[in-house]
């Protein structure tokens, strides 16, 4: 059962690690060109849900469909095709330390999309310029600040021209002074109409940017709604107590 406006449709997904359930039959609908924020305590399943959406983790049960035509959870799913359409940025950047910034960004386009070296470099430089990183193109990742590294990671995912971007607590490892520049990058992508799903601890940012906010509790989407609904008038006790604790 796919809803009319559902671009990503997560339906009854279960996932356990070593017998410990992390996702417990959770469902989620995301509209195209919208931003969805996943909030909740550590261990509530936010990261695992994101990883299931681009098939970095296989689900134990349930299904995830994208655009009604891409079954992420199928047994014979073309994982490479899924990951080409869905980008992800991690909390710990995960840049490749042995490659220059530019090579980090062009690796996917050259090897996966089979673009030419030249086209990939031109496109990468355009993206770097857009995010104010053009002067870092020939540096190695260990020369970057945390904020710069995370923005490079965003550019690296963007270079694959994904339809959906997943952000997994991308500001959690950053010095508070560097959070702003990374959030600016996400704002910019939001304005460009990319479909975004992000796990975040930045409540004010979620409030500002998200069309839909989902509170995860014990492996299920416990409550979801618009930012105003969820932050101003949370209905369930668990949501209320979580919001009280983080505010």
């Amino acid at each position: 059962m796919i809803k009319q406006d559902s671009y990503i449709c997560v339906d009854g997904v279960w996932k356990a690690f070593d017998g410990y359930p992390v996702l417990r039959g959770t469902s989620l609908d995301v509209a195209q060109h919208s931003a969805t924020a996943l909030i909740g305590a550590s261990g509530s399943g936010k990261s695992t849900l994101l990883r299931c959406i681009n098939a970095l983790e296989t689900v134990d049960a349930g299904s995830i469909m994208v655009n009604g035509d891409l079954d992420v959870t199928a047994f014979n799913a073309d994982l490479d095709a899924i990951r080409r359409r869905i980008g992800i940025v991690f909390q710990s950047y995960n840049l490749f330390p042995h490659m220059k910034v530019l090579d980090n960004i062009t690796l996917g386009p050259i090897r996966v999309l089979k673009k030419s070296q030249k086209d990939s470099k031109v496109a990468a430089m355009e993206l770097l310029t857009r995010f104010g990183l053009e002067s870092k193109a020939l540096d190695y990742p260990d020369r970057l600040s945390g904020g710069q590294a995370q923005r490079v990671a965003i550019v690296r995912a963007l270079a694959m021209e994904p339809e959906i971007m997943l952000f997994d607590e991308i500001t959690s490892a950053l010095d508070p002074m560097l959070v702003g520049e990374v959030l600016d990058s996400v704002r910019e992508l939001r304005a460009g109409g990319l479909t975004i799903v992000m796990a975040t601890h930045e409540m004010s940012f979620a409030k500002e940017i998200a069309d839909q906010v989902c509170f995860l509790h014990e492996g299920v989407v416990w409550e979801s709604g618009t930012a105003t609904e969820l932050f101003e008038r949370p209905r369930r006790v668990e949501t209320q107590s979580f919001l009280q604790r983080v505010h």
Binding site: N54, L56, L79, D80, A81, R83, R84, G87, I88, F90, S92, Y93, N94, L95, F96, P97, H98, L107, G108, R111, V112, P141, D142, A149, R156, A157, M160, A173
Partner: protein
């Protein structure tokens, strides 16, 4: 009042403190040298005055014997050098292939994985000299047509097989030392497992294991002498012949000096690489 704000490049050290710490450094250096000289003088005095020293010097450090045998030893050492340079690239190739074979997960390649594991288990478990005996005497005894009976060939082959197993384990450790999040990032970009290995994991793995690999090189350099048991006249064999014909052990000392002359620079180089990579790792953090 505000503190003065020097430009960010300025390094300022109180001259008095600087003078004091320089003086301390000079004193430390002096004490160190004096202590070392004293120790050497003591050793020379004790050893030189001991009753057996003349016999020892005559048997192990005989100048005439040394001058007589050394050119021949150097010439024989050329064979060790050749064995080393033929074996080393082969060892690296075998080691890398075996390490990779042990990481493939596809069920169709299970035979390859089993073979690779068996190879490592067997050749790491058997003493190198035993492998040299087995191949060096055993293979020619088969008298198969097309199979060489050359002792140098089989001695080198035995070194390659024995060291290949060790180096495979070093490479495997290197592959394991690359954090799984790197693979996750590569796969999330759509890179295949093979591409992930080639572009992301292996380059970092090789960089991580360069110091231990250098240590294995040094070891191999010395172990080329083991081929002597099969008869080829390399440096150890040459020294053995000279020793037994003159009843003097100086040629052995000469052979030892030749090995040391080569391994010490390599050891220092390996140490320097290790320090450098450790520093780099600390500076890199979680990139």
């Amino acid at each position: 009042m505000n503190n003065p704000a020097p430009d960010t490049e300025t390094v300022y050290v109180d001259p008095l403190r600087q003078a004091r710490s320089r003086k301390k450094a000079r004193q430390d250096a002096l004490i160190g040298v004096a202590s070392l000289l004293g120790f050497v003088a003591l050793v020379v005095l004790l050893v030189g005055r001991s009753s057996g020293w003349d016999t020892v010097a005559q048997t192990f450090f005989n100048g005439d014997q040394f001058a007589e045998s050394f050119p021949g030893l150097l010439q024989a050492f050329w064979l060790n050098v050749r064995i080393f340079f033929i074996a080393e690239p082969l060892i690296l190739i075998i080691g890398l292939l075996v390490a990779l074979a042990r990481t493939v997960k596809s069920p169709i390649f299970l035979p390859i994985r089993v073979l690779a594991t068996l190879y490592v288990d067997i050749f790491r478990g058997v003493p190198t000299i035993l492998v040299i005996f087995l191949l060096g005497f055993g293979m020619p005894a088969l008298q198969l047509t097309g199979v060489p009976s050359d002792a140098i060939f089989w001695g080198t082959a035995a070194l390659v097989l024995s060291y290949g197993a060790y180096v495979a384990e070093v490479f495997r450790a290197g592959i394991g030392s690359v954090h799984p999040s790197q693979t996750m990032a590569a796969r999330s970009l759509g890179l295949s497992s093979l591409q992930n290995n080639r572009f992301v994991v292996l380059p970092q793995a090789v960089r991580n294991v360069t110091p231990p690999l250098l240590n294995d090189f040094i070891s191999l350099q010395k172990d080329t002498a083991l081929v002597a048991v099969l008869g080829p006249i390399e440096v150890l064999r040459r020294a053995q012949i000279d020793t037994s014909s003159n009843f003097n052990y100086t040629p052995y000392v000469g052979a030892a000096l030749i090995f040391i002359a080569l391994t010490i620079p390599m050891t220092r180089f390996a140490d320097a690489m290790q320090t450098r990579s450790a520093r780099k790792k600390r500076a890199g953090g979680v990139a």
